[in-house]
Each structure stands twice: as structure tokens, then as C-alpha cells.
């Protein structure tokens, strides 16, 4: 080609480039501004068009499969550590001397807890998303049995004689008693709401079960969460203790002498207008101490300090000498060390009134917290070696176990579990989601109000305009990437806007996320929060007779009298599958006098059974109440012509709704079969 030809081609492409660049850049600016609601977000196409890919080749290319260690158990000899790798659906067998993973055992979906039998021959692993327990022979290191449980098995405990296994069913809110000889479930008892932690007292007589969500109660009433006490000998519930103003009691431990039971907890301030973070106006964190004697007192002690909060306490263990308790705070990557003798002294010397005031006193922790030990990202489960000299900490978002000397209270080592070295954008987003570093004085994080990336069942007074107005029922974040807009009033059209400047001004009240962090948290929220399977109400995609009748009512165009139901008043119109939302704003006549005038973003309904209370301000305690108490004018769908049985059928159907991902699994199985 002649020089003039080359120059002509170069000139052509240069002009073309300029034509595309300038208007293209202008268009991109308008586009990015609209998505992010700010005018200075970098024009980085990768932010939305790469990192938020939920599936396909690109998603596989840029994302990694992590292990995410959660809970652990140590062998009596101390040479083996058994680690739940939650995102890998496996149990890792770790050599504590060589600090190496020896073997990976596949278990059920989303394993939660591992415990060992007294003789060290068996391990039991609860699988929260497959409703069973894997029984593992520790000699052959393989699964030898799978025991059916209730819905969402989490905490586990063995009876003193090792003949019964207690399984805390976190989703169905009950506890199963499994006979380990037959593998059959012998009894099932109701517990508090969303229980997870359980522990048998040192004398083997009393089993405690802690719950995470508060008992459902009208907004304004004192928050209460239940601790369920079971007599191990008779295997009967002997007491239900409601702990006031606390929730998220994740785990419990007994002192070796059995004089105290101590559990982790959060004291939320959801009834107080959210007007500031200073002085603990949003959340506080601590422990519940229950004296194990006749008329034993219940004392709540904060682990926070006046200008420093230790968010999301998760696990608690107590040394064999009963001197120290260790509490993991997953929100601030810290372990608090509590001097138990100091707690005893404080209780002994304080009047009942003073003890009561400690639950709201940020300074009292200086009496019993003797050290804060920093850890890697998201410390969850704790395990002590049988001699109590070493503490193992599952750093969930590091794929690593930290090893702490319980005498020197220093970190003395780490066990790399062999997860991916690369921290992807979405993984970084998950770290941010679980970390309180982006709220003023670390007072809370996304996970605090959205535990398990879901919702905490509380209604908050966000005080957006005047105090006491516009109550807000916390919404689930599961699989919300495809269901914009966000917030009940639908004001945020993207996750970018939801978590941007507005978020920092009215909620976190500290510096907003920088744009890299905003990209990361958006990528995580859009790509990384799956629904659990709906094993309780729709385990295999085959609806029951009642659910099928309910589906017909949900889809109906005519009422019981044969009249046409206006299209905009049919369930299916505003709640079409796969997410059961039409992504539009709606008027359903549920505004309260204390609400500003607004339409509501139509909520998605998958796994709706797991999100009580209902409606924007949580006034409906059950799905039924949406219509029996708050839908009398037929503005929220035509329902008043229904019989009670029909309403039951409709609710049965609503409870069966589950994520599209599980429908695809059924669809694939169906096609494979045919």
C-alpha cells in the first residue's frame, strides 16, 4: 500500500475515533450519572458490565470459589482441627502441627456446625440448606450416614451419653432430638425465632438454645428474644426465658463450673429515631449472662466502649480454667477477651438497679474486657484446644484459621486453608458488607441489619424527615440485583445509588464508600447473595393440592362471584414470576397516618415465608394479616370474596415461592428425565 493510502486509513480511523469518542464519552457520562446518582463516578465500563455479571463465561472467569471457614471443632488430642468450609460444602480435616489441610470431605449444602463425639470417632455436620446432618467416621474420614432434620439445621449438641443428637433448626425455629442408634428424629420442640446456638451444661443436665430473631411483636412493644431451656434427662422444655431488648444471640457457652451461661447478643435501637450514630443511637453489642441457680439473674453487659463499638458478636468460648471468655466480633475483625472473675465480682457487688443499667452503659466494659485481639476478615467460629492453651479463629473471608495463645493473648500463627489467593471484586464487596469500618465508630455494618444477607425482622424509625414518621421494615437483600428500584419508596433506582452518598449521610454518617469500594459492594450484592432453597414449603417444585389451589387464586382474573377483577388488582399483575414483582410502584392503601404520601415499590415474593413481619412498616405479623387486618378495602388485591380456606390456600402458595435458580434446577432435571 502506498504511503498516501496508509495515511488515508489512519486519518479515517482517527476521525472515526474522535467522532465516537466525544459523543460516546458524553453519552457514557449521562448513562453513568443516571445509574450512580452522582456526577463524578469514574467512567469505568467494567464496574457494571463485568463485575456484576451473575452467570456465564465472564462470571466464571472473574470470580473464584472460596472456602469460607465458619465453625470448627478440635480433636481431644489437639492434633486435628475440623473446619466447616461453608461456601465449599465441605469439612476440612486440618493437621494443627503441620498447619496443613489433610483432607476435604464433601457434605451437604451450606454446612453450619461440626461437633465431635466424646470418643472422637464421629463428627456430625449440620447442613443448613439440605436439612440434614452428615455423620462422618473419623477413622475412615468419610460420610457414613445422613440424618434428616427439621428446616435449616444449624447448632448441634450431643447428649451427655452421646446417644442423642440435638439439632437446632434455624428456619423452622425448633429443635430436633435425633436417636443416634436409629438415626430417627424422636422429638421436636418449638424454640425462639431463628435459633442457631446450643450448648449442654457441664453437668449434662441442661441444654440451652439461643435465638437470633426477636419474637414477632407490634412495633413499639419491647423487643424480646427467647432462650429455650431443655431438661436433658426428661428431654422436655423446662423454661422459655425472654431476653428484653436483645436479639441475634448467636452462640452460648457455659463456664466449666456451670455457674454461668454466657451468650452473645446485639441490643438494637430500632425504636429510637435514627437521628445520629454518636452515643450508641443505632446499635450496641455485648453478652447475656445467666446465673445457673434458683432465681438466677439475667444480666446484659456491653462489650462496647463510649467511642468504639464491637459489632456483630458471633461465637463465644470459655477456657477450661473458667477464667477467660473469648468473643469473636465479625464486624470489626476483633476478638474480645473477657475476664470472667471480673464479671462475677461486678454482679456480686451491684444492686439490681445498677445491674440493669449496665445493659446501656458503654463504659462498664472496662471492668471486664482485658484485651482486644485483631484478626483477619470476618472472624466467625472459635475453638479452644482441649488444654485451653490455643484458640482457633475461623477467618471466614480470609480462608484462614488464626491461632491465638490464650496466655499471652497474642496471635501466634495462621493456617492457610488453601482458598484462592486472588480477592475478587465481589469478594472484596462481601468483606465490606460484613465490616463496620464504613460506619461512624464502627457501630454497625450491612450484615448487622441484614444477617445472612437477608433481614433482621425489625422495623426501624429511619427519621428521614421528622422523627417518629415513616417506619421502615428491613428488606431482604437476597437476589435483589434484578429487582430495582430499591427502598420501599423506590427512590433508588440502582444499588449504586442505594449505597452511595445518601447512605453515608443518613445512615453510616461517616465518609462514603470510595468508588472502588462502591463497585465492590455493588458487585457482591448483585452477584453474590443467593436465596436458600425453600425446603420447608417447596422442596422439589411439586406443589401440594392446597398450593395449587392457591396458585389458581393468585392467577385468577375473576372473583368468586364471577366478576372480572380489574387487571391492576390481580395478584399476578403486580407480582409476576420469576421474582414476583413487576418492578413498578403501586398503591395498596396501606399508608399510615405517620407516613408521607408515597407509592410503594412492589416487593419481590420469593421465600416470602422467611420475611415476617410484612408490609412496609411491618404492621402485619403474618402473611394472613396483610388481608385479614390490613386489606379490608380490596386495594391490595381482590381478596375479600375469598373463604377462609381459600385464603389459607393462597398463603400456602405464597409460602411455596422460591428463587428462579431452583426452578431452573427442576427444569433441568425434568428435561434430563424426559
Amino acid at each position: 500500500m502506498k504511503t498516501s493510502g496508509i495515511l488515508s486509513v489512519l486519518l479515517f480511523f482517527s476521525v472515526l475515533g474522535l467522532i465516537v469518542y466525544f459523543p460516546g464519552r458524553k453519552w457514557a457520562r449521562v448513562h453513568v450519572n443516571a445509574k450512580t446518582a452522582v456526577d463524578d463516578h469514574p467512567l469505568n465500563c467494567l464496574s457494571c458490565h463485568l463485575y456484576t455479571q451473575k452467570s456465564g463465561f465472564i462470571s466464571k472467569l472473574i470470580n473464584r470459589k472460596y472456602l469460607s471457614p465458619f465453625n470448627m471443632a478440635v480433636s481431644k488430642e489437639g492434633d486435628r482441627l475440623y473446619v466447616i468450609a461453608q461456601d465449599d460444602n465441605s469439612l476440612l480435616v486440618v493437621d494443627t502441627e503441620k498447619k496443613k489441610v489433610l483432607k476435604k470431605i464433601s457434605v451437604g449444602n451450606l454446612p453450619h456446625t461440626v461437633i465431635l463425639s466424646n470418643d472422637g470417632q464421629r463428627a456430625y455436620v449440620s447442613n443448613e440448606w439440605s436439612d440434614d446432618v452428615s455423620v462422618i467416621d473419623l477413622n475412615t474420614i468419610r460420610v457414613v450416614d445422613t440424618l434428616k432434620t427439621g428446616n435449616g439445621p444449624a447448632g448441634l449438641s450431643l447428649s451427655a451419653d452421646n446417644k442423642s443428637l440435638y439439632v437446632v433448626n434455624s428456619y423452622s425455629s425448633n429443635i430436633s432430638v435425633l436417636d443416634l442408634n436409629t438415626g430417627e428424629e424422636r422429638k421436636r420442640f418449638d424454640t425462639g425465632n431463628n435459633p442457631t446456638g446450643t450448648q449442654l451444661s457441664p453437668d449434662g443436665k441442661t441444654l440451652y438454645v439461643t435465638s437470633r430473631r426477636a419474637l414477632i411483636a407490634p412495633y413499639g412493644e419491647t423487643l424480646e428474644s427467647e432462650i429455650t431451656v431443655l431438661d436433658e434427662t426428661s428431654q422436655k422444655i423446662t423454661k422459655r426465658r425472654n431476653i428484653e431488648s436483645a436479639y441475634m444471640m448467636e452462640n452460648v457457652a457455659f463456664t466449666p463450673t456451670g455457674d454461668l451461661a454466657i451468650m452473645t447478643m446485639i441490643r438494637p435501637k430500632n425504636l429510637v429515631p435514627s437521628i445520629q450514630v454518636e452515643q450508641g443511637w443505632m446499635m450496641t453489642y455485648g453478652i447475656v449472662v445467666i446465673e445457673q441457680k434458683e432465681n438466677g439473674r439475667v444480666i446484659q453487659l456491653l462489650l462496647d466502649e463510649p467511642n468504639a463499638y464491637y459489632s456483630d458478636p458471633f461465637d463465644i468460648v470459655i477456657t477450661p480454667d473458667g477464667k477467660k471468655a473469648f468473643v469473636s466480633h465479625s464486624g470489626v475483625n476483633t476478638i474480645s477477651v473477657v475476664n470472667i472473675d471480673s464479671v462475677r465480682s461486678l454482679i456480686a457487688e451491684s444492686s439490681p438497679e445498677l445491674l440493669n443499667s449496665y445493659s446501656d452503659n458503654l463504659g462498664i466494659s472496662s471492668r471486664y474486657v482485658i484485651k482486644r485481639i485483631k484478626t483477619g476478615a470476618d472472624p466467625k467460629g472459635l475453638a479452644l484446644s482441649s488444654d485451653g492453651k490455643l484458640l482457633y479463629v475461623a477467618e471466614q473471608l480470609e480462608d484462614r484459621i488464626a491461632v491465638i495463645n490464650t496466655e499471652s493473648l497474642e496471635t501466634v500463627g495462621a493456617i492457610d486453608l488453601g482458598g484462592p489467593n486472588k480477592i475478587t471484586v465481589a469478594r472484596q464487596g462481601r468483606r465490606l458488607f460484613n465490616n463496620s469500618g464504613h460506619t461512624f465508630q464502627n457501630q454497625f455494618d450491612c450484615y448487622t441489619c441484614h444477617p445472612d444477607m437477608h433481614e433482621d425482622g425489625l422495623v426501624y424509625n429511619m427519621a428521614s424527615k421528622d422523627m417518629g414518621r415513616n417506619l421502615t421494615n428491613t428488606q431482604s437483600l437476597r437476589d435483589i440485583g434484578d429487582t430495582p428500584p430499591y427502598k420501599w419508596n423506590g427512590k433508588n433506582q440502582t444499588v449504586y445509588k442505594q449505597d452511595g452518598m445518601r447512605f453515608s449521610t443518613v445512615l453510616t454518617r461517616t465518609e462514603q464508600f470510595n468508588y472502588n469500594d462502591l463497585d465492590a459492594i455493588t458487585a457482591y450484592i448483585i452477584t453474590g447473595i443467593p436465596y436458600p432453597p425453600n425446603l420447608q414449603y417447596n422442596p422439589n417444585g411439586e406443589l401440594t393440592e392446597s398450593q395449587l389451589r392457591g396458585k389458581a387464586l393468585f392467577d385468577r382474573a375473576k372473583d368468586n362471584l364471577g366478576n372480572d377483577i380489574p387487571e391492576n388488582n390481580r395478584c399476578i399483575t403486580c407480582h409476576p414470576p420469576p421474582y414476583y414483582t413487576n418492578l413498578k410502584m403501586a398503591y395498596v392503601k396501606t399508608l399510615a397516618l405517620s407516613d408521607d404520601s408515597m407509592l410503594f415499590d412492589t416487593p419481590h415474593l420469593n421465600n416470602i415465608y422467611a420475611s415476617p413481619p410484612y408490609l412496609h412498616d411491618g404492621r402485619a405479623a403474618t402473611l394472613e394479616e396483610i388481608w385479614t387486618k390490613y386489606g379490608k378495602e380490596d386495594k391490595h388485591g381482590r381478596v375479600n370474596d375469598m373463604t377462609k380456606n381459600q385464603l389459607n390456600d393462597l398463603i400456602d402458595y405464597l409460602k411455596s415461592l422460591r428463587a428462579p435458580a431452583y426452578e431452573h434446577i427442576v427444569s433441568k432435571k425434568f428435561h434430563a428425565k424426559n
Partner: protein, 478 residues
């Protein structure tokens, strides 16, 4: 051939361009970390908060630079063009120096910024009144003290913020306190020394507030025998260090450390076992401290290193029989504090105040058995008059809508109007600020009880009460 030539030309041009970029970046000479301090030849007097003459506005003070690796070397006077200059502060990137200065003897003190590479200065604030104690804020702004005389303040120094070019000047304190010696904490809040000047004079105490003037609160007050005489500066291990003076035994000022996490109950006197007198402190990047110290009143204040762990003086960094070292800073980059968002909206004329229970007091949380009289009414007192008397709700709560930027105090009264507790410290609310308190005179370490205050189920009471309605912009933050 042409292709080869074109390719060669392309590479030559690219190489020259790259080299230019590379070498231009090298023209920025590397800077050692230096010590910059203020020295004064005059005889130092005991601090007087009211006149401030012997404390903030010191005649013929100089800002000088010292190479800590060569302390015996010659000093460089940075403020050669100023009659007096002091209060040096280093920018977060380590490139600039903020200071207060007086070009001529009778000029008002103003705020200046110096480029540490070429030592060129520019004036940031040009006011008729004295300005002092500038501190960098994140986001290209600064906070400083400025003298003012008006109805609400009476006569004293208020805090102001502005951009680094002096624009967008905003006053952020509105009560009759005089404010000096500010610093910024890593959480993004301003820590300043405030002293009530009306109606009675109070003791100086550390006040903490957001850079927009919201959420102002007491952070630390000295013991009954001491008062604060320097800024509180945050160390890299979560402590705040400062100097405290004894009210009776003047001339024995101590270096004090408190914890950021629990400032009111963590006071440690780092120099109780050291004779002599401390005047200023500055945390170093190394974790050690730099202090201005003299052994006796006949000595000059010299610059020393200080080991806070062992509570011991270290090596002398600078001493000169002709000068006292008044304050010092270390150059170099340092972590930028958080840039806090602001809820202030100047289109709104009011702020909202919620108190959860006026009958919650410090005595209850400390276990005191003294009887605490219950009250059911509060009185809101302004500078010159009572602004209203409000019946509190059955649960002890009240909810007020108060004209913004106007100081007020609250006192609880019984049904006969007798004062039971109070008056409180002076409070102000910024436009659109929403603020809460647990009780009156409550223990600052107590958090609110999780219950809906009855008062927020109604509209707020407008203060002053003679106003029936405030026409203002409606703001919905959500």
C-alpha cells in the same frame, strides 16, 4: 523505506515523551521529615484564656525548620516576612504548611499557607479580626478560630471553616464559648478547647463536633484542680495527648494522655514523676512524642523527644537560651482523617432535638442512692430571655424544633416552676440537624433505651414558643 522511517519517527517521539515525563517527575526533590516549630524570645507568661495574649497571639514569634538528623545544624526561619507567626500545621500530603501570622506589628492575625518546597506563602483569610489555630480538614477545607463580638457569643473566638482559598466561609460554633487550639481526629471530628464566657466563666474543656458544627458535645474536662492548656492531639495508638495546668500550682504543667475510646475515665498523667514544666506536645510518626519542656522557670522551653510507654524524656532536639519552643509539628505525609458527610441544609431554619427522658441523670447510672426529684416540665433559656416552657411527656421525653444557630440552655423545673436541675451546658443546633440526648445531665457513657419516646408521636414544639410556625424548606433525607 517510508514505513521504516515512520516507525522510527514514532518510536523517537514516544521515547522523548516518556523521558520528559520520567524526568519531570524527578524534579520533585525528596524531602526528609523535618521538624517545624514556633519559638519566641519574649518572656512567657502564664496562660490567660480571656486575653489570650500570652497564649495564642504572641509577639515576635517565629516559625522555624529543624533537621532532626542534624540538630546542631543551622535552623531555617520560615516566617521571615512576618512580624509574628505561630500555630504551624502540615497538610495531609506533607507539602504545605498552614499557620497564623501577622505581617506587621499592628496587623490582625490572619491565616496563611506556605508551600514547603519553595516557601512561597499565600493568604487564606483576610479579616479585620484576629484569626488563629488553623487546622486542615479533609476535602480541601480548614477550621480556625476567629474573634467575634455579637449578641449570642458576646466577645470571644468562634470556630469557622472555609475552603483553602478562603471561600465558602462558615461559622460552626454558636454558643457563648470561646474556642481555641483545635485538632482533627481520625474519625473526622474537630476536637477543640471551649470555655464558657457567659453568663459565668467556665473551665476550659475539650469539645468535639463535626466539621459542619453538628453534634457538638463535651469530650473531656480536666480534673477539679486542672485545666487544659493545649490542643488534644491523637496518637497512632488511639490516645489523645495534651498539656494540663494546675489551677493553684502554676508552673508545673503536665503531659496528659486519655483514651479516644473512653476519654472521661482514662486520664493518665505521663509526667507526674518528672519535675519541671511542659508546654506543648506533638505525636511523631514513630509513635513517640515530641514535647516542649523546661526544668525550671528560669530555663527556656526546649524541644525533647518523649517516650510515652516509659514516661521518660528522650534526647534534646533543640534548645536555645534565647528562645522558648512553643509548639512543634513533624513534616511528611500523614493519614487523612475521614471526610464526614453533612446533614446541614442552609435552606432550613431549624433543627430538631429529642430528649428521651429528662429524669435520667448521671446519678442513676452511677448507683447513687440520693433521691432524684422528678420533673415534668423544662424551661428553654436563651441568651437574653426564656424561650419557652414545655410540659414533657409521661415518659419524660420532649421533642423540640429550635431555630438553628441560636444558643440555648435547658433546665428542669417542678410544677411550681422551681428549678430542679440545670441549666445545662449551652446547646445549638445547625440548620436541619437532628440530635438526641438520653437525659438531662446524663452519664455521657449511657446509650438510649430502645423504646419509642412518646414525644415523637406528636409534632415537635417550636422554640421559641412565641413563634407558631416556621416557613422553611422541607427536607427528606431518604
Amino acid at each position: 523505506m517510508n514505513k521504516i522511517r515512520a516507525t522510527l519517527v514514532f518510536f523517537v517521539v514516544m521515547s522523548i515523551g516518556s523521558a520528559c515525563i520520567f524526568f519531570s517527575s524527578c524534579t520533585e526533590k525528596s524531602m526528609n521529615e523535618m521538624i517545624i516549630f514556633t519559638r519566641s524570645s519574649g518572656k512567657p507568661k502564664y496562660l490567660d484564656y480571656d486575653t489570650t495574649d500570652s497564649w495564642r497571639y504572641i509577639p515576635q514569634a517565629q516559625i522555624v525548620e529543624l533537621d532532626p538528623n542534624n540538630p546542631a545544624g543551622s535552623l531555617k526561619v520560615l516566617s521571615t516576612n512576618y512580624y509574628s507567626a505561630r500555630s504551624p500545621q502540615i497538610s495531609f500530603d506533607g507539602k504545605y504548611l498552614l499557620f497564623a501570622g501577622q505581617q506587621k506589628q499592628n496587623d490582625p492575625w490572619q491565616i496563611w499557607e506556605m508551600n514547603l518546597r519553595d516557601l512561597k506563602t499565600r493568604q487564606i483569610i483576610a479579616s479585620k479580626e484576629n484569626c488563629t489555630d488553623p487546622v486542615y480538614l479533609p476535602g480541601g477545607r480548614l477550621v480556625f478560630s476567629k474573634f467575634a463580638s455579637n449578641d449570642t457569643l458576646k466577645a470571644g473566638h468562634s470556630l469557622f471553616t472555609c475552603n483553602l482559598d478562603g471561600s465558602n466561609l462558615k461559622r460552626i460554633t454558636f454558643n457563648p464559648h470561646t474556642y481555641f487550639a483545635s485538632s482533627i481526629l481520625s474519625d473526622g471530628r474537630v476536637l477543640t478547647v471551649g470555655k464558657q464566657i457567659f453568663p459565668e466563666k467556665g473551665d476550659p474543656m475539650f469539645i468535639i463536633l463535626r466539621p459542619d458544627g453538628t453534634k457538638a458535645d463535651m469530650f473531656y474536662k480536666g480534673t477539679k484542680d486542672t485545666f487544659i492548656t493545649s490542643p488534644g492531639l491523637e496518637t497512632n495508638n488511639g490516645r489523645i495527648v495534651f498539656i494540663e495546668s494546675d489551677k493553684v500550682f502554676r508552673g508545673k504543667d503536665n503531659l496528659i494522655s486519655i483514651s479516644y475510646n473512653r476519654p472521661l475515665h482514662s486520664r493518665v498523667n505521663l509526667t507526674s514523676d518528672i519535675g519541671g514544666d511542659f508546654h506543648a506536645v506533638c505525636p511523631l510518626h514513630s509513635g513517640r512524642l515530641m514535647v516542649s519542656y523546661r526544668k525550671s522557670e528560669s530555663d527556656r522551653y526546649s524541644l525533647y523527644e518523649f517516650d510515652p510507654d516509659n514516661k521518660a524524656l528522650g534526647k534534646v532536639l533543640y534548645n536555645n537560651a534565647e528562645y522558648d519552643v512553643l509548639e512543634a509539628v513533624e513534616t511528611g505525609k500523614h493519614d487523612r482523617p475521614k471526610k464526614l458527610p453533612s446533614e446541614v441544609d442552609l435552606g432550613v431554619k431549624t433543627g430538631l432535638l429529642l430528649c428521651q427522658d429528662i429524669n435520667v441523670s448521671d446519678m442513676q447510672s452511677s448507683g447513687s442512692t440520693a433521691s432524684i426529684p422528678k420533673s415534668s416540665r423544662i424551661e428553654i433559656v436563651g441568651i437574653d430571655s426564656t424561650l419557652g416552657s414545655v410540659e414533657v411527656e409521661e415518659d419524660g421525653s420532649f421533642y423540640l424544633k429550635v431555630l438553628a444557630d441560636k444558643p440555648f440552655q435547658i433546665q428542669t423545673v417542678d410544677k411550681d416552676g422551681h428549678i430542679l436541675q440545670g441549666p445545662s451546658a449551652w446547646i445549638w443546633l445547625r440548620p436541619n440537624e437532628r440530635r438526641g440526648c438520653v437525659g438531662c445531665h446524663q452519664n455521657p457513657e449511657m446509650v438510649p433505651v430502645n423504646r419509642i419516646p412518646l414525644s415523637v408521636k406528636k409534632s415537635p414544639v417550636i422554640i421559641p414558643m412565641h413563634i407558631n410556625n416556621v416557613i422553611e424548606k422541607k427536607v427528606s433525607l431518604e
